[in-house]
Structures are given as structure tokens and as C-alpha cells.
């Protein structure tokens, strides 16, 4: 596999330097842009495999850069920002960001997110009927989910929820997004349904539902489905 190319758009030199060292030593190739203008130009001229975007750029608001990029750029975009308010995070995710990390961030965390986003892209290219995620085995054609070879009894809603997560593995799904996808636009404020079904699904698929590993909570934002290779 070729080395994935990542474009870092951030006006802070120390952060770019840190990301360059971190990413290069993990076998990614890195390009940099210090302004929104330069960043958009680079993406247009030579689209990278992934963009890491800072929201606080000197020449343009990061949210609007994100919107512009999403008009044509379909590969993953990770937001890296000092803005930690839930509103900012939800806004960025709704505008098409695949993930959001708040500065200061741990490099291990960033690398895990990058890996999982790049992997889910590779996965989606091959459409297999059965996939295995650590202990879980999902047979899409027969709508059967097994855990350690034991068939799980999932209700239709639980199944849809699980499939939605699996298809978006590694990505943070906002409460609104999940409610709209599973229950429809009329239910977007009925967050208690979501809480109920998440709790039930966790009881069925997690080793310890109180310390979930597959369906992780992103406080005030949504949920992320992740599994450790």
C-alpha cells in the first residue's frame, strides 16, 4: 500500500511541526498549509488522502473552509481545534467533518483516529456480505449478528443501529444524525429513544456494558463505533 498523504492546515508552526514528526514517523507523508487560502488551493491542485484542519485560521473561519472543501472533497477531514464547546463540535461534524479532536490532544489518540478513518475507506471499497469485527460477526445478507459464534437476538431497530455504526466505523455520529437515520426526521429531538437503544445494544454486544469498548460515548456530541485491531 502507498503511503497515505495527509495535508495539515494549521497556522501554528509548533503544531505543524509536531504533526509532521508524529505522522512521518508513522509512515504517512505530510504536506502543510498555514492559511485557509493555501490549504484550499493545495486540496484542489493535488487532493491528499486526508485533511487535518484547524478551525482558528487567520484568514478565514475554519467552519467555512470545511464547507468549501466538502463541496467537492470526499476523503476524510479531521478537525483539530482549541474550541471545545459541544456546539462547535456538533457544527463541524454536521458540516461534514469525519472527526474532531480538541487541542491539547494525545498523539496516540490522533493516530488511532487517522488509522480508523483511512481503514474504513479501504473497507468500503470491497463489499463483502459477512464482516468480522473482533468478537462480532455480521452477516448482512441474512441479517444475522454473532458474538463469539453465538447468535445475538437483536430487534430490528437495534440491528439498524448496529449497521449504521458499523458502516461509519471510527466516525463520530451526532445524536441528531443517528436519530434522523434510524427513526426519521420527526424524531430528531427524541434523544431518550437513542439513550434507551444504545444501552440495550451495549448490553448485547459489549463485554461489560458499563465500560463499553465498541460503542464509545462522545460526551454531548454523539457516539463512535470503534474496535481494536
Amino acid at each position: 500500500m502507498n503511503r497515505a498523504e495527509i495535508l495539515v492546515i494549521d497556522d501554528e508552526l509548533p503544531i505543524r511541526k509536531l504533526l509532521e514528526i508524529t505522522l512521518q514517523s508513522n509512515d504517512y507523508s505530510v504536506r502543510q498549509a498555514a492559511t485557509a487560502k493555501e490549504g484550499i488551493l493545495q486540496v484542489a491542485n493535488h487532493p491528499p488522502d486526508m485533511v487535518i484542519l484547524d478551525l482558528g485560521l487567520p484568514d478565514e473561519d475554519g467552519h467555512s473552509v470545511l464547507k468549501k472543501l466538502r463541496e467537492w472533497y470526499v476523503k476524510p477531514i479531521i478537525i483539530l481545534s482549541v474550541q471545545s464547546s459541544e456546539d462547535d463540535i456538533v457544527k463541524a461534524l454536521d458540516n461534514g467533518a469525519n472527526d474532531y479532536l480538541v487541542k491539547p490532544f494525545r498523539t496516540g489518540e490522533l493516530l488511532a483516529r487517522i488509522r480508523s478513518l483511512l481503514r474504513s475507506r479501504n473497507d468500503s471499497e470491497e463489499t463483502s456480505a459477512i464482516i468480522t469485527l473482533s468478537e462480532l460477526q455480521i452477516d448482512f445478507s441474512n441479517r444475522v449478528v454473532k458474538r463469539n459464534n453465538e447468535v445475538l437476538k437483536l430487534t430490528p431497530t437495534e440491528y439498524s443501529l448496529l449497521i449504521l455504526f458499523v458502516k461509519n466505523e471510527g466516525k463520530v455520529l451526532t445524536h441528531h444524525f443517528i436519530l434522523r437515520e434510524i427513526w426519521g426526521p420527526g424524531y430528531m429531538s427524541e434523544s431518550q429513544y437513542l439513550r434507551v437503544f444504545i444501552a440495550q445494544l451495549r448490553k448485547k454486544i459489549e463485554k461489560d456494558p458499563n465500560r463499553p469498548e465498541l460503542i464509545q460515548t462522545e460526551s454531548g456530541v454523539g457516539y463512535r463505533f470503534a474496535f481494536n485491531e
Binding site: T155, R195, A199, N210, R211, G220
Partner: protein, 360 residues
């Protein structure tokens, strides 16, 4: 203290009240004249002026003094309804009355002014004291990790050939720990200033208490604390409509505080329950507890226990209180009879038992 209160009344109304009070007292005295000596009337009027002096500004008081002197002269000193005075004795009396009434007014006013200045001075001294406490604890809390980071990175930059690999790793891990500590303090300060400024408005949504508590416990356990944390949640607990982020901050600070101030291997118990439409959270430890006489003060900003070890800004508990109150809840602290401290938090909230229904 009434004086301070009444000075807020506008000047013109103060003049009006002064005239009315003097007039009112004069009318009553006028009807009581058959039973009273006119000299007693002077004392009664003087009393009225004293009361006015205790309440109003200097000019209305002087007006009252002058007016009462004239009133007394005109209505009460024979010959009545004239400003002339019959005897020398009365002339001396009216002069003395005038001087005493004026002195009375001026002196009372001065005392009040002085008192006000004293209160202001005291407030200022308290602010300075608070500011100093803040600076001391902040400079300690912020400079210690910065010193660690600078020192460790200096070593790594200049002595990298002399250092053993083991020492290098040690230095790097110190840098990492110090950064985390710095980050936590900055987070606390930001939270405090957001709370103070009133910017934080609760964002109400349904909260799964189970999920919330275990999320926080996981965060704490990831920092490798030396205490054990036991969680007990009523299995029938409903969803609460509350601000999840704020609840997490409250719980995080409570548990973190318990971890900071209890010895290794202490047990921290978290208990969540629904008590009459309120969320009740109890965080209890079996550490040293709090000195009884300081319990009421610990939620104050920058308050630190008299014998506490170094470190900590005294912000943790005041942040907890700030968040609990932002959610219209209450927080109590008591010592456990055996050993340790118990924090009880009650937050009223809408509940939903949807989670306990058998659906589909």
C-alpha cells in the same frame, strides 16, 4: 445601616420627607401642647432631626434642623405665631436649639460617611487578600509544571549524550505529566471564569446516569489513581433531563478531589439514586474527612484547608458548587461517622422511565 439604605432615595424625595416628618411631629406636638411644656417639644423635634440625620443626606438634614428651629420658635415659644421671642431665656434656648440641631445633623452624617469608607476599605482589603491567595496558589500550580517541563526539556536538549536511556524516558514522562497537570489547571480556571461570568447556561437533554458515571470513572482511572472506586447505581434509575457536560464536571471534580486528598488504597464510593424527582449523587470516601469548623467554608473560591498539603488551587469544590447551582441543585458536605467525607448532591430534574419499559 438604614442610613446607607435610605440614601438611595432621590434627593428631592429626601427633602420632601424631611419637611413632612418635621411638620408631622410639629402638628402632633401642637395638639399635645396643653399637656406638654414647650421645652419638651424642643427635645421631641430634636429627636425627629436625629432620626432624619440617621437616614438622609446632609442637606435635607440641615433643612430639617433649620425648619424645626423655626417651627418651634413660631408655633411653640410664646408669643405664639411670631418669630419674636419674649424672654432672653427663650432666645438663648432657640439659639442653642439651632446649634445643637445643626451639630447633630452634621456629626451623624460624618459618622455615617466614615462608616461607609470603613466598609469600602474592608471590602478592598478582602479583595486584595483573595487576589493574593489566588496569585499564590496559581503561581505555584502553574509554575511547578512549567518548571518541570523547562528543566526536563533543557536536560534533553543539552545533555542528550550524557543521559541514559532510562533517564531520558523518565524526563519525557515528567514532561508529559506536568503538561497534563497544567492542562487541568487551565481547564479549571476557564470553567471558573465561565461560571463567574454567567456565560454557562445549562443545555438540557436526557442523561443516562449509568453511562455518565462510568464515563467519568473511566477518565479518572485512566490517570492511574491509587484509590479504589466503587459504583452503586439504582438499577431502576430513570433518565434525567439535565446538562450532561455539567454533571460530568461535577462528578469529575468530586472524584478527582477525593483522589487528591485521600491516602492510597482508600475507597471512594459513588452512589446514584432518584429521590423525589431529584437526582441524588453521593460521593463518599474513607479518608481523613474535613475539620468540622471548616466544613462551611470549603466551597468558597480559592479556599484551602488550613493544613492542606501544597498543590491545588482551591478551585475544585467551588467549581462543583458553581455547576450544581447552575443546575438549581444543592451540594452538602458532611463527615462520615467512621472516617472520611461524604458529598451529597441533589439536583431537581424531569425524569423519564422510558428506559425501563420493555419496548418492541
Amino acid at each position: 445601616m438604614d442610613g446607607i439604605l435610605f440614601t438611595k432615595i432621590s434627593k428631592s424625595i429626601q427633602y420632601l420627607y424631611s419637611i413632612l416628618i418635621v411638620g408631622f411631629v410639629a402638628i402632633i406636638c401642637h395638639y399635645a401642647l396643653p399637656f406638654l411644656d414647650y421645652r419638651i417639644v424642643a427635645l421631641i423635634l430634636l429627636l425627629a432631626v436625629s432620626i432624619i440625620a440617621a437616614m438622609f443626606d446632609i442637606l435635607p438634614v440641615l433643612l430639617a434642623a433649620a425648619l424645626s428651629a423655626l417651627t418651634w420658635d413660631y408655633f411653640f415659644i410664646p408669643p405664639y405665631y411670631r418669630l419674636q421671642v419674649a424672654s432672653t431665656e427663650d432666645a438663648v434656648l432657640i439659639l442653642m436649639y439651632f446649634v445643637i440641631a445643626l451639630l447633630n445633623g452634621v456629626l451623624t452624617y460624618r459618622i455615617r460617611k466614615y462608616e461607609k469608607a470603613l466598609v469600602l476599605k474592608e471590602e478592598k482589603a478582602n479583595t486584595i487578600k483573595l487576589y493574593n491567595t489566588l496569585l499564590n496558589s496559581l503561581s505555584h500550580e502553574l509554575r511547578t509544571p512549567i518548571a518541570t517541563i523547562l528543566g526536563a526539556s533543557d536536560n534533553l536538549l543539552t545533555q542528550s549524550t550524557k543521559l541514559s536511556d532510562e533517564n531520558k524516558t523518565e524526563l519525557v514522562s515528567e514532561i508529559s505529566k506536568a503538561s497534563l497537570r497544567l492542562n487541568h489547571q487551565v481547564e479549571n480556571l476557564l470553567n471558573m471564569s465561565r461560571l463567574e461570568s454567567g456565560i454557562i447556561k445549562p443545555h438540557y437533554d436526557w442523561c443516562d446516569i449509568n453511562e455518565l458515571i462510568y464515563t467519568v470513572v473511566k477518565q479518572i482511572e485512566e490517570t492511574k489513581v491509587e484509590q479504589k472506586i466503587a459504583v452503586k447505581i439504582d438499577p431502576q434509575i430513570p433518565f434525567f433531563k439535565l446538562d450532561k457536560g455539567m454533571l460530568e464536571q461535577i462528578l469529575y471534580n468530586l472524584i478527582n478531589n477525593a483522589c487528591l486528598y485521600t491516602p492510597a488504597n482508600s475507597l471512594i464510593r459513588i452512589d446514584a439514586d432518584c429521590k423525589s424527582e431529584s437526582l441524588q449523587l453521593i460521593v463518599e470516601d474513607n479518608g481523613f474527612g474535613f475539620p468540622q469548623e471548616e466544613i462551611s467554608a470549603v466551597f468558597g473560591k480559592f479556599y484551602r484547608l488550613k493544613n492542606s498539603k501544597t498543590g491545588g488551587t482551591g478551585l475544585g469544590l467551588s467549581i462543583i458548587k458553581g455547576y450544581v447551582e447552575a443546575l438549581s441543585g444543592k451540594v452538602f458536605l458532611q463527615n462520615v461517622e467512621t472516617h472520611g467525607a461524604r458529598f451529597t448532591i441533589n439536583i431537581p430534574a424531569e425524569t423519564s422511565y422510558l428506559n425501563n419499559l420493555k419496548n418492541e
